[in-house]
Amino acid sequence: SAVISQKPSRDICQRGTSLTIQCQVDSQVTMMFWYRQQPGQSLTLIATANQGSEATYESGFVIDKFPISRPNLTFSTLTVSNMSPEDSSIYLCSVEDLMGQGAEGYTFGSGTRLTVV
């Protein structure tokens, strides 16, 4: 399986500021995904990031608020811009993964726990 390194693991930020989260994969992957998990909630897909093209955002998420970069096949960043307390969540990156069995699956990073004060 792919191994994902996600940074930072947690942060406490002032409202109005921005935080950039990094996701590094140990192998080349076509698609990378960014999820948000609000406190006590399930995971919601924010956007899909493909190398060489703009990210595709889900309903309710916009590029100005969550700009994403995908400079190569092993790396992506998600920025949470102009933060408010409502942005306090866990943010996770994910990749499609063959999981050594020739069948598709998904591997997740360990997440970034963001608290906005």
């Binding site: 909630q41 399930s42 995971l43 899909t48 996770l92 999981m99 069948a103 699956g105 998904y106 360990s110």
Partner: protein
């Protein structure tokens, strides 16, 4: 639209007893089904998946799940629960034609000694 339902917010079971965490889904087309576990302050860990083939799928840590097409269910099971199984469990679904993974609301499993 694709959706996943986990009807139980929490499941309580005694150590050594069998456990079941329920999941039902709604998709158009053949489903790919997944179970993930989340421990406190950790990301999601893959448990098992159903893509095709045998309806009974065996996964990590002694967990298994049975795909039931007629009931559109994919319940997670384990014959003998451990206290260390206590965590948050998520069921998820996608279809062959869509890469998007849709998650259920999650079920908290509490295994008491």
């Amino acid at each position: 639209a694709q959706s996943v339902a986990q009807p139980e917010d929490q499941v309580n079971v005694a150590e050594g007893n069998p456990l079941t965490v329920k999941c039902t889904y709604s998709v158009s087309g053949n489903p790919y089904l997944f179970w993930y576990v989340q421990y406190p302050n950790r990301g999601l860990q893959f448990l098992l998946k159903y893509i095709t083939g045998d309806n009974l799928v065996k996964g990590s840590y002694g967990f298994e799940a049975e795909f039931n097409k007629s009931q559109t269910s994919f319940h997670l099971k384990k014959p003998s629960a451990l206290v260390s199984d206590s965590a948050l469990y998520f069921c998820a679904v996608r279809t062959h034609s869509s890469y998007k993974l849709i998650f259920g609301s999650g079920t908290r499993l509490l295994v008491r000694p």
